[in-house]
């Protein structure tokens, strides 16, 4: 087990494609780190550089305090679970798991004991003599994990291991991976494009965009204190709402009305003209189900609900609004960056399941004004971020830097490369 330090890692492909740009991330011993971002953000490339399948153009990759830039994958003693599992189809499950031990010329008795231990942990005992071709997706996934845990590797690396499973199994395996990692206490780097996996699994999460690190923090810090528009839009489901806003004193003018925000937040956003307000869907509520002392005039607004999706425990209400062109452009760009394709600007409001608001109603909505974030539309920076609870935010403007890199990338390869 070892800590992994990435110091100013750069990856530039032969054709000049800048896949990873000056990324520095420390993974502590025993920590579960998630690398997350939309497709083409360089997260898989970064993982493959840790394991040694991809050359490092510049920077230092330190594993357990040792520089490993020039070591072959087999000399780094890391184990990896691939997206498509990469099991050896000609070997039985037993031999698949035993493969790394056989390569290390371990005696048969030791191999047998370790394989049986791993198979017991992963409940593969009854499948040991079968070939991977006869296993279900979840079982194959477990075999791939067995092959990873069977030897005493310095760290585990996962490359989108759950993306090939169906939704239910994905949830189960997610818990399983988390439990296994806690039990073995081994340093883990996990790549995913799924923000739910990122939030639930990670001790800390590194959000990447176009090969530029945006923020490196705990899931809670990312959720509550996103460093910029990109992180704010990426983390959370349904995503954060972005509304045009103007701050006057401690009043914020939103398309639906004016709300009062705390003084210290307002102070940071004075005199900046038109801003983008970010409010998470769950920071809204049907005013009729909120305690009456909270639902004051300053914190409520009236709006016509377009569509309601009722899920039982909660309901999502959709309220369309018009955004001024200055903000519109930025929001559309953001949507593209997040792999989304939203046709209209609309507010998504998460309501209590008990709410009786239905489609077409003019509803009174309460908003938790303390949780509003205000973003600079030009740079995307979060003006109201609480820096002491935002983890590591790279200096300079990470989002603008990602834009620049994005232009270079599109220049080299018009279609952004996967991974």
């Amino acid at each position: 087990m070892a800590a992994i330090e990435m110091k100013n890692i750069v990856k530039q492909y032969g054709d000049g494609f800048p896949a990873v740009n000056d990324v520095s991330i420390d993974v502590e011993d025993g920590e579960f780190l998630i690398l997350v971002g939309p497709s083409g953000c360089g997260k898989s490339t970064l993982l493959r550089m840790i394991v040694g399948l991809e050359d490092i153009t510049d920077g230092d990759m330190m594993i357990g305090g040792k520089r490993v830039n020039d070591l072959a994958p087999r000399d780094r003693n890391l184990s990896m679970v691939f997206q498509n599992y990469a099991l050896y189809p000609h070997l039985t499950v037993y031999e698949n798991i035993a493969f790394p031990l056989r390569l290390a010329n371990k005696p048969d008795s030791e191999v047998d004991q370790k394989v049986r231990d791993a198979s017991k942990t992963l409940e593969l005992d009854e499948h040991l003599e079968r070939k991977p071709g006869n296993l279900s997706g979840g079982q194959r996934q477990r075999v791939a994990m067995g092959r990873a845990i069977v030897r005493d590797a310095e760290a585990f690396l996962f490359d989108e291991p759950l993306s090939n499973l169906d939704a239910k199994l994905r949830g189960q395996m997610r818990t399983e991976i988390s439990r296994l990692q806690k039990r073995l206490g081994i340093t883990t780097v996990y790549v995913t494009h799924d923000q739910t996996e990122a939030m639930t699994l990670g001790d800390r999460v590194a959000v990447l965009k176009r090969g530029v690190l945006q923020q490196h923090a705990t899931p809670r810090e990312l959720y509550e204190n996103p460093a910029n528009l990109f992180v704010a839009g990426f983390i959370g489901s349904p995503p954060m709402n972005f509304l045009p806003a103007t701050v006057k004193g401690n009043q914020v003018e939103l398309p639906f009305g004016t709300v009062t925000i705390p003084e210290e937040k307002a102070a940071k956003a004075q005199g900046k003209g038109l801003l983008i307000a970010g409010i998470r869907p769950d920071h809204f509520e049907d005013a009729s189900v909120v305690d009456s002392d909270k639902a004051t005039e300053e914190a409520t607004f009236k709006a016509t609900v377009d569509v309601v999706e009722w899920l039982g425990n909660e309901a999502y209400a959709y309220i369309p609004f018009e955004a001024p062109p200055e903000v519109q452009k930025q929001l559309q760009q953001l949507e593209r960056d997040l792999d989304g394709e939203s046709l209209r600007t609309q507010l998504v409001v998460s309501l209590d399941g008990a709410s009786r608001i239905s489609e077409g109603d003019e509803a009174t909505i309460w908003v938790d004004a303390r949780k509003i974030h205000l973003f600079d539309p030009a740079s995307g920076e979060n003006l109201t971020m609480d820096a002491s609870h935002a983890g590591i935010v790279p200096g300079g403007n990470a989002m603008a830097k990602a834009e620049e890199v994005g232009e270079v990338q599109d220049g080299v390869q018009p279609q952004s490369q996967d991974g």
């Binding site: 394991v51 040694g52 399948l53 072959a72 994958p73 087999r74 003693n77 890391l78 184990s79 990896m80 691939f82 997206q83 498509n84 599992y85 990469a86 099991l87 050896y88 189809p89 000609h90 493969f99 790394p100 390569l103 290390a104 070939k131 991977p132 071709g133 006869n134 296993l135 997706g137 194959r140 092959r147 030897r151 090939n164």
Partner: protein, 276 residues
């Protein structure tokens, strides 16, 4: 499928089987006829008095058994060497990016298309100079030059099908490039390796033009060439029964090999490697 197409398919199937297998059945039946019966010219399909005489006679014929040994040796060595070289070359072609890759592939194809006859003259001259005339290597080398391109093409297609991740997984698991190749890639390409091996073996086993031109004695003459020496005492009355017997004997190994390897050529061996 409606009944009409079904009947049609079966009629077509039976016709093709008759067309292909009748001559084979004829040869087998001939091999059991006595010499007297074939010489009378009374053509009937089944032998009147089936006899093993032809088989015992031909297996006692030292020249024929010697030719059989030559055939086996030459075909086997050519196959093994071809497959080994082709596997390595095909792997490089499938995996590595190097200049002139297309050139190598198209050149290989061009060589495979070269007519064998056009090489007989130059090879004869060269082999007599190099002392390779009438030796095993004298046949193995030209056989390989014809079978290698075919084997390389077949195998590189197979290698391309194997996901890169297999090899990378092996490397992460602690394998050297060579170990990854030997323990993961080659077993996965096994169906391709066997296909290439069978094609190579058949070519070498059946080849006649080079075998008759580049040999002079039974020390290296293979069976197809040796059979052309079965003329018998009367030039107008070749020993049909013996020729048929020899044909049956040389065909047997081919059939046995196909049946043996057929089990190895399991389609979809790679299924299960990746989510499928």
């Amino acid at each position: 499928m409606d009944a009409k197409t079904k009947v049609g398919t079966w009629i077509g199937f039976v016709l093709i089987m008759l067309w292909c297998l009748f001559p084979v059945a004829w040869i087998i039946s001939l091999s059991f006829k006595s010499e007297g019966e074939t010489a009378t010219g009374s053509a009937q399909f089944l032998p009147k008095e089936p006899t093993w005489d032809n088989y015992s006679a031909i297996l006692d014929n030292g020249d024929f058994t010697r030719a059989l040994i030559n055939s086996f040796g030459i075909a086997l060595i050519a196959t093994v060497l071809s497959v080994i070289f082709a596997t390595l070359a095909a792997y490089a072609i499938a995996r590595l990016d190097f200049k002139g890759k297309r050139l190598v592939l198209s050149l290989a194809l061009a060589i495979a298309m070269f007519p064998v006859v056009s090489l007989v003259g130059p090879l004869f001259d060269m082999w007599t100079t190099f002392g390779l005339f009438n030796t095993w290597p004298g046949l193995i080398i030209p056989y390989m030059s014809f079978t290698l391109p075919l084997a390389i093409w077949t195998l590189s297609a197979f290698f391309r099908e194997i996901p890169w991740e297999m090899e990378q997984a092996a490397q992460v698991d602690g394998a050297t490039s060579w170990q990854a190749f030997r323990k993961v890639i080659v077993p996965l390409a096994a169906p391709g390796v066997f296909t290439a091996a069978i094609l190579t073996f058949f070519f070498a086993w059946n080849e006649f033009v080079l075998a008759i031109s580049l040999t002079s004695t039974t020390s290296s003459r293979t069976v197809p060439a040796q059979m052309s020496f079965f003329v018998g005492p009367d030039p107008f009355n070749p020993p049909y029964a013996q020729l048929a017997t020899a044909s049956v004997i040389v065909t047997l190994p081919v059939i046995i090999i196909v049946l043996l390897f057929q089990r190895k050529i399991v389609a979809g061996l790679t299924s299960g490697a990746v989510k499928g």
